[in-house]
Symmetry: C2
């Protein structure tokens, strides 16, 4: 049984394929002493519009560096079949021939025929080729697809079964591998995902069914809920005396990886479990879980919508206010909006021609007694929060604003306030983060013809060790503020803030 | 198939059985709406010397509160069989009769006969009794023990198989349950541990083999590597349409639990995998992993020793210095010892009759050129660190001091410095934390007849969000300093410190 560690390739989904140089050295020097056969070091790719780092393109000088660091492992790279054609191979494979043993193709079974042509072209250039077949839970009993696998005989070094959704159970894995083996005589591999904490159990089942090579990553680092942990498979094999393992080397590699783990916190959680259990793709989930400020609740809601094929629950009347307000107070979720509520309320009284927009309803209860029109941005899970904040909404008189239709992210709308809900026609002032609370709030202010927008409760974060979520929220808000400022409408914070916006203390204005 | 959630009981190992009141309310109100049958709410116990909280003793007023919170679940508590006798039952079961449906006994199979008597006595008082049989991986084929299980027929409501080491694989679980069923006709339950990330797979195997009740905890919170996650089992069952699940309730419970997770960070890691794979008990591992500042490396070393039955590798000559020093500089691992090294060195030059003790060798390289005797505390993994710091120790002239024999924690001694290693005869100035770096350093200072001890590199931690490990280290050092001060030997920090010790700036002394 062989092991392929693909940490740099699959873990790259978290780091955008950049890893600290010292960590890379540690990675290769550790694996020199660990009983693993292959290291998959990244992708080769044609240029893409968004930034991707070093291990996504693997330019030749990086390959050279790696061959200096890794002497006794077989090296592999991966190509995304859907974005590479045989005519690109001169460029894509340039400089790899002497040092890269194995090219793995990530293949959607739908594209099997073109993958076959690509694989043949790569094989002709002297590389070993493996086919990473994705979404295999859907094809375990699909004889018309499985039948095609016989064309891999004599071509593929091995055929890798990917449990893309992370929803397979050991029995299914056994059946899949058994079925594949009846069509394909090449070696079978397995690439598990850990959504249901079954990556290891499924791998044991795969090995039991005759699978000969398993993919692992350090600490399970990999897209979405992550992979089988290299250290788990190795420790298990060592405990069964199936290999010799230097725990000093392994432990110090894991400890070196720890800061990355603390930063990105990959691994499974409720949304990943849900997507695994219901065979839903992980790409969105990963973005929602790691980059943005969505609650589990509202991610699950969105996944429910995906599962039932709905973009969002309902189409709402478009927000076309017949009023306008020169002054708009936008209330964020920071604690300062509570601490200084008395001053803010005095300021509101003094202003005239003013309304309040709650970007988050976190602090809304404190402004319940303000007698100017109030708007509430309803994104994801805010509906539940409103219900709790305003005791089942019996005496709730605000209007709720939702993102434009169709909404990708599910939004919970409490029955009782259904008639006070409106959707924006469009969000025009920004080209990113259009479904964020703050984007909604600022667009609502624009729709209300605001001349001045006053922010409260946008404290920002001061601690050095910001979580990824906090960092994501900060980036998002900074981007939205800077986009909004292009409208030339005055944007000012009435309270202390760490964001790059002008401050006018509320206390000097009342 | 039934589910028993034992978060408050098993998660209590992390919180010392105290949980925040609001969280407890959230727990019970959530489970009112979740498809779980039993809630195990804690232990009843006779008084113990160390502090244990509310859910370890469950006084009657707490039971009353819980019955107000939980209306539609069956409630269970656990007794540790080894510390309860039939004569204690009046006290232990007082007030439980109307509200607690099930008493679970945690039983070491070695004590099965006395457990049987205890179980009968409890049954006579009208409670349902379940037997939680621990260490069952060792007894799966032990017919002489399994034969005894027939005496549970008619007595036990069910018999729970505990995978105490967390090292079982699905096939073993199936065999175990099959074998138990041939002796015992009562229902079988399963309590998995997640050391090898097999808690869920083993539970599926158990259910498949006819097990009727499974233990889970919220987010897997439980002793050591933790348990099967409640949310994982429920999400899986819902995806198979085996139960109705309100994901809003589940998601908001998980989110409420998140702060506890971030604080205690239970779950598996390399040491837990090693102990699982090698059937070693988790109690020590949990202490080492969560409370103290040991590297994975040295925990694994200690586990290696446990596995081979060694207390520690070798017996060393006792440290009986023929020198004495009026002044001792103890160097800790904080960054200030590097930042101010020049000043410290000037101070050392000025002092005379002085030696240096490196509690941690983290900063030792910076003091390499100091020409007074230097001692190095060798705990756990420091040997590896010394090798790295002093380039394979070719020009290393210090003496190394180890804790007294026998050492519970493994210590790596590099071959090259074996002849410069000594063990302390005893650590006398403190009754706790005797194998900590700082305990060693201070005892070494005492053995060298120090009249003044100067600390450098004991910066402490300033961030509000200290990790449990950092908090543990702070508590440990504070305790050691306060114990040392009882010796009346002057203890002073030469640099800024957050510890409660007197400061004399090194800059006013040179």
């Amino acid at each position: 049984m062989k092991v392929l560690d693909c940490t740099l390739r699959d873990g790259g989904y978290y780091t955008n394929w950049d890893f600290d140089g010292e960590l890379v050295q540690k990675y290769f020097s550790s694996f020199e002493k660990l009983p693993v056969d292959y290291l998959e070091i990244g992708y080769r790719s044609l240029p893409e519009k968004e930034y991707r780092g070093r291990f996504y393109y693997l330019p030749n000088f990086v390959i050279d560096e790696i061959t200096q660091l890794s002497k006794n492992k077989l090296l592999a790279i991966m190509l995304n079949e859907k974005s590479v054609q045989p005519k690109n191979l001169d460029k894509i494979l340039d400089g790899l021939a002497p040092v890269i043993s194995l090219i793995r193709l990530a293949v959607d079974p739908k594209n099997f025929d073109s993958a076959l042509l690509l694989g043949e072209a790569i094989r002709k250039r002297g590389f070993d080729v493996a086919f990473n077949l994705m979404y295999m839970s859907k094809y375990a009993n699909d004889e018309s697809f499985l039948g095609k696998l016989s064309s891999l005989n004599g071509l593929a070094s091995y055929v890798n079964m990917v449990d893309s959704y992370g929803g397979m159970v050991p029995e299914q894995v056994k059946i899949l591998i058994h079925n594949v083996k009846s069509y394909c005589r090449e070696a079978i591999g397995f690439h598990p995902h850990n959504n249901m904490e079954l990556a290891f159990a499924n791998s044991l089942a795969a090995i039991d069914a005759g699978c000969e090579i398993v993919d692992t990553t350090v600490m399970g680092m990999g897209r979405g809920a992550g992979n089988l942990r290299t250290e788990l498979l190795l420790t298990y094999m060592a405990s069964k005396n199936k290999l010799e393992l230097d725990f000093n080397v392994l432990a110090s590699l894991i400890e070196a990886w720890m800061p990355l783990y603390r930063k990105y916190e990959w691994g499974t959680n409720l949304p990943y479990m849900f997507s695994g259990g219901n065979s839903l793709p992980q790409k969105d989930v990963m973005e929602w879980v790691s980059q943005r400020f969505y609650s589990y609740n509202c991610i699950i809601q969105a996944l429910h919508n995906q599962k039932s094929g709905e973009a969002d629950n309902i189409r709402l009347p478009v927000f076309n206010p017949n009023k306008s307000f020169d002054n708009v107070i936008v209330v964020g979720g920071g604690p300062s909006a509570i601490l200084h509520a008395d001053a803010i309320k005095r300021f509101i009284d003094k202003l005239g021609n003013v309304c309040v927009i709650h970007a988050s309803s976190k602090n809304a209860k404190k402004y319940d007694d303000v007698e100017v029109p109030q708007y509430f941005c309803l994104v994801g899970n805010e509906g539940h929060r409103l219900e709790v904040t305003f005791q089942q909404l019996e005496h709730f008189y605000g209007q709720c604003i939702l993102p434009p239709y169709p909404r990708k992210m599910g939004t919970y709308i409490p029955e009782r306030i259904k008639n006070s809900c409106y959707e924006l026609e469009d969000i025009l002032f920004t080209n990113k983060y259009k479904d964020a609370h703050t984007a909604l709030a600022l667009q609502t202010a624009l729709n209300l013809s605001a001349k001045q927008v006053f922010l409260v409760g946008y404290d920002g974060y001061t601690n050095e060790a910001m979580t990824m979520r906090e960092q994501g929220l900060v980036n998002e808000n900074e981007y939205l503020f800077s986009s909004f400022q292009k409208t030339k409408i005055d944007l000012v914070s009435l309270l202390q803030t760490n964001y790059s916006i002008r401050i006018n203390s509320v206390y000097e204005m009342i």
